[in-house]
């Protein structure tokens, strides 16, 4: 699904008659490709069987709000920090695309850069070291030790 979403975003931008709605859908789709990559990383780290109920439960555990104000969750390595920074950015563009009725402020070339950033985030998530994947999965599931101590 993740690669298919990126491909759909590319296709939306390669139409001969590109409207603002194409730009909005491509922006939103790019964010979701990156977000799904994060969900899949978390679930598959713990449950390899993608068809199992447990996999789905873990997959759905990640929520968009975990990206807000929770940078400690991603404070593991440069790669995880970069992933979080870019997911934050793509989420802002996605919300502008999906919910703000005013004229969409981005041109095709800018949306292409959003899609490319999402593609890079997907690649970064897939290439995380085993230690980074474990630490990020644990943080997303149960928070950081500092957060648990406070909570």
């Amino acid at each position: 699904m993740i690669d298919a979403l990126l491909q759909i975003a590319d296709e939306l931008l390669s139409q001969t008659d590109v409207s603002e709605s194409h730009l909005r859908r491509a922006t939103s789709t790019a964010y979701y490709a990156a977000f799904h990559a994060l969900c899949k990383m978390l679930a598959s780290q713990i449950v390899p069987d993608e068809n199992s109920e447990l996999f789905v439960r873990l997959y759905r555990h990640v929520n968009h709000n975990q990206l807000d104000g929770n940078k400690a969750l991603f404070k593991i390595s440069d790669e995880t920090n970069a992933i979080r920074t870019q997911l934050d950015d793509l989420r802002q563009r996605r919300i502008e695309a999906d919910y703000i009725p005013a004229k969409f402020p981005y041109e095709i070339v800018q949306v292409k850069d959003f899609v490319n950033s999402a593609r890079t985030v997907v690649a970064l998530i897939r290439s995380l070291t085993e230690n980074d994947r474990i630490a990020l999965a644990v943080n997303l599931l149960i928070g950081t030790s500092k957060q648990r101590a406070v909570g």
Partner: protein, 109 residues
């Protein structure tokens, strides 16, 4: 705050030129609220014609370094970073139809 944004523009320009490439010729920054209604900084890196079509991981890590640089100066507002390309001429840069009224032909800058 004009002084602050001017300073941040300079910081971002130098950092992005170094980390992303010399094709970054300018930076704009706007202070506004983000989707969570949190005060944020919206940077736009202006790229010339020599910029690669896919900035790849250089862009993603440059964004991280910009965030860190600002945080090291006590700036905790999140720095959103988009690009603005100059002189693009591919057919995909032309928006043929607007969803806000009659058909228009608008060339991306």
């Amino acid at each position: 705050m004009v002084e602050t944004t001017d300073k941040y523009k300079q910081i971002a320009l130098e950092l992005l030129k170094e980390k992303l490439g010399k094709f970054v010729y300018g930076v704009t920054v706007t202070e506004k609220l983000d989707h969570n209604e949190e005060a944020s900084l919206f940077f736009e890196a202006q790229l010339d014609e020599t910029a690669p079509s896919d900035l790849g991981s250089d862009f993603v890590f440059s964004h991280l370094y910009l965030r860190r640089e600002l945080e090291s100066r006590g700036e905790m507002r999140f720095p959103y970073l988009a690009t603005k390309r100059r002189g693009t001429t591919t057919p995909g840069d032309i928006i043929l139809r607007s969803d806000h009224g009659s058909a228009t032909r608008r060339k991306a800058s």
